[in-house]
């Protein structure tokens, strides 16, 4: 296997931490949102669903452009972060995390929502008549039954964050160690006509994606065929 340069490794590490942190935040924020969407009969549900799904249809550059405006010095989010003493988000790692969470939201919320919707109401009612309160029911019945959805959501959220490019370029630019993630580094190699280096990164990402998806499908096989589980 051709060796990675120190700069390549830096990009790999940066990408891995960005994707891990984003996935954790996505699960923390996406799980209650998905639960709410799966159980609510509220009139605002279609609007919330549409907002969540927006990144699926918008070109990443559109999303990145508006996030840049929002988080910029004159944007409302930018003014807030500066007032709180957090500084500006664009062209920082923190800004990338915020953008990734928004960009990858549908990839986490939708599988979770589908998994929660598939849980029969009677299972939750049975838990209630067995003295489990609402939180208890959620953690001991809903989450375990939504396990395949939770796994899919984590993997898709992680992989999609690894693969983002347009939003990163808009929000983060290309600062080594801060915002130069794999996809941007790859683009840099190609622009500089360093095709060997580009092959290392691109081939690595193909292998990584394949590995992740195969593990996902293996882990998410129906319980019956896996025996116990």
């Amino acid at each position: 296997m051709p060796s990675f340069t120190a700069a390549d490794w830096q990009a790999v590490r940066l990408t891995a931490s960005l994707a891990s942190l984003s996935t954790i935040l996505l699960l923390v924020a996406g799980t209650p949102l998905a639960w709410w969407l799966s159980r609510t009969r509220s009139a605002v549900k279609p609007f919330v669903s549409a907002m969540v799904a927006m990144p699926l249809v918008l070109p990443p550059t559109v999303l990145g452009f508006y996030l840049l405006l929002l988080m910029g010095p004159q944007g409302p989010v930018g003014e807030l972060t500066q007032a709180l003493g957090l500084g500006r988000l664009p062209f920082t790692f923190a800004g990338l995390v915020v953008a990734s969470v928004i960009y990858s939201l549908p990839f986490v919320v939708q599988p979770l929502q589908q998994a929660f919707e598939a849980i029969p109401e009677r299972a939750l009612e049975a838990a209630a008549t067995l003295r489990a309160g609402p939180w208890d029911r959620f953690f001991t019945v809903a989450l375990p039954l939504a396990r395949p959805g939770l796994l899919t959501a984590s993997v898709l959220g992680f992989a999609h964050t690894v693969g983002e490019f347009g939003v990163v370029l808009m929000i983060g630019g290309n600062i080594p160690g801060e915002t130069r993630v794999l996809s941007v580094a790859l683009y840099g190699h190609v622009e500089a006509l360093e095709f060997d280096a580009a092959h290392r990164l691109a081939g690595g990402m193909v292998a990584f994606s394949m590995l992740v998806l195969v593990s996902l499908y293996v882990l998410n096989r129906p319980a019956g065929r896996r025996g116990a589980g």
Binding site: R131, L145, G224
Partner: protein, 368 residues
């Protein structure tokens, strides 16, 4: 004593019932699909929000006047539905322990061993729900509910999803439930067979209302209720085994006998011969006499295969579901027997209330 007044309205359906159910034995809510019996059960459990009140003894689970509404997980009840609803991610043991774990140790009166033994599921403990048969799943669901030491057991058609063989397999377990645990049961059913087998108290429902409520024997003897129109209509009588005829494998049942003691009861309304199911003399049994198995005659019959001939008095005659049929209630001693005849036969016999008549009972179903 369970008392409840429940009202709710939905498009196309209104429920307005008031119930006073005995604090022991099995109370069956009986009625056609859509009559609201499941909604009543769900409202008793707190799974459905109806207006009114629900009280178990002195304890108010719901009292709108005082703003009391306990959520389901704060009501000490067990709830079993048609589909069992076992947790697929837990083993049988995990399912049983799910409820038990949530009961404070000092409040555990039942535990795990008794329900496991009672429902015969000891050999299934490490199995997953998806590897169980329908009947086994339902037994686990009942044991799981019992393990929470409920003070009231609610059952919503627990046999409806099972075929006849599985039903027959589960029924004896249900019999043992009220025999061994002194726990009031409210049982929803639309099957008259289950009613006559299990009920002590019966609530007949129709269109979101209570049509009649009372002891099983009293209601089954009434001709003005929907139960009398059922194919399986007929009286249910309490009896005890008075004698066993080993030569013909028959048992003589003393119907309406008060004392169930060891000796043959002193007073009883009449005797019926039935197949001997091996129950010892003195055993208390429930006897079901279907209206279609009863014939009437003006004189005692000779040269007939019917072994049970009783002398009684016609009490009431009513029309049946079909124009051609009539239902006749005859009082034999203090016990009622209902016969289903053609109206032509009733006319030919000149039946009228007060008239003495001979009751010929062809078959008797015995329920231990």
């Amino acid at each position: 004593m369970i008392s409840a007044a429940l009202a709710l309205s939905r498009p196309g359906f209104a429920l307005d019932v008031s119930l006073a159910l005995p604090g022991r034995g099995v109370s069956v809510l009986f009625g056609p699909s859509g009559c609201g019996k499941t909604t009543v059960l769900r409202a008793l459990a707190g799974l459905e929000r109806a207006r009114g009140h629900v009280r178990l003894g002195e304890e108010a689970w719901q009292d709108d006047a005082r703003g009391v509404f306990l959520p389901p997980h704060r009501r000490p009840l067990g709830y079993v539905i048609q589909e069992a609803a076992l947790f697929p991610h837990l083993t049988v043991r995990g399912n049983l322990e799910y409820g038990l774990k949530r009961i404070a140790p000092e409040a555990r009166r039942v535990g795990l061993d008794q329900p496991v033994e009672l429902l015969g599921i000891g050999h299934l403990m490490d199995r997953r729900p998806d590897t169980l048969s329908g009947g086994e799943r339902q037994r686990v669901a009942i044991a799981r509910a019992l393990a929470t030491s409920p003070r009231l057991l609610l059952m919503d058609e627990p046999l409806a999803a099972l075929d006849a063989a599985r039903k027959a397999e589960l029924l004896p377990y249900l019999d043992r439930l009220h025999a061994e645990l002194s726990m009031p049961v409210v049982y929803v059913s639309h099957a008259i067979d289950e009613v006559t087998r299990l009920a002590h108290h019966l609530v007949l429902m129709s269109d979101g209302r209570v049509v009649a409520a009372g002891g099983l024997a009293d209601l089954m003897a009434r001709l003005d209720l929907p139960t009398a129109r059922e194919e399986g209509a007929g009286v249910v009588l309490e009896a005890c085994v008075a004698e066993r005829d080993s030569r013909w494998q028959l048992a003589r049942l003393a119907v309406g006998a008060e004392a169930p003691g060891e000796s043959t009861p002193v007073s009883s309304d009449f005797h019926l011969w039935a197949r001997d199911h091996g129950l010892p003399v003195g055993s208390r049994v429930r006897v079901r006499v279907l209206a279609r198995d009863v014939s009437l005659a003006r004189l005692p019959q000779a040269g007939t295969s019917i072994g049970n001939q009783l002398q009684g008095t016609v009490e009431e005659i009513a029309g049946d579901e079909h124009e051609s049929l009539a239902l006749v209630r005859v009082r034999v001693g203090a016990s009622p027997v209902v016969a289903r005849l053609t109206r032509r036969s009733a006319h030919a016999l000149g039946l009228a209330p007060g008239m003495p008549v001979w009751v010929l009972v062809k078959t008797v179903a015995l329920m231990p």
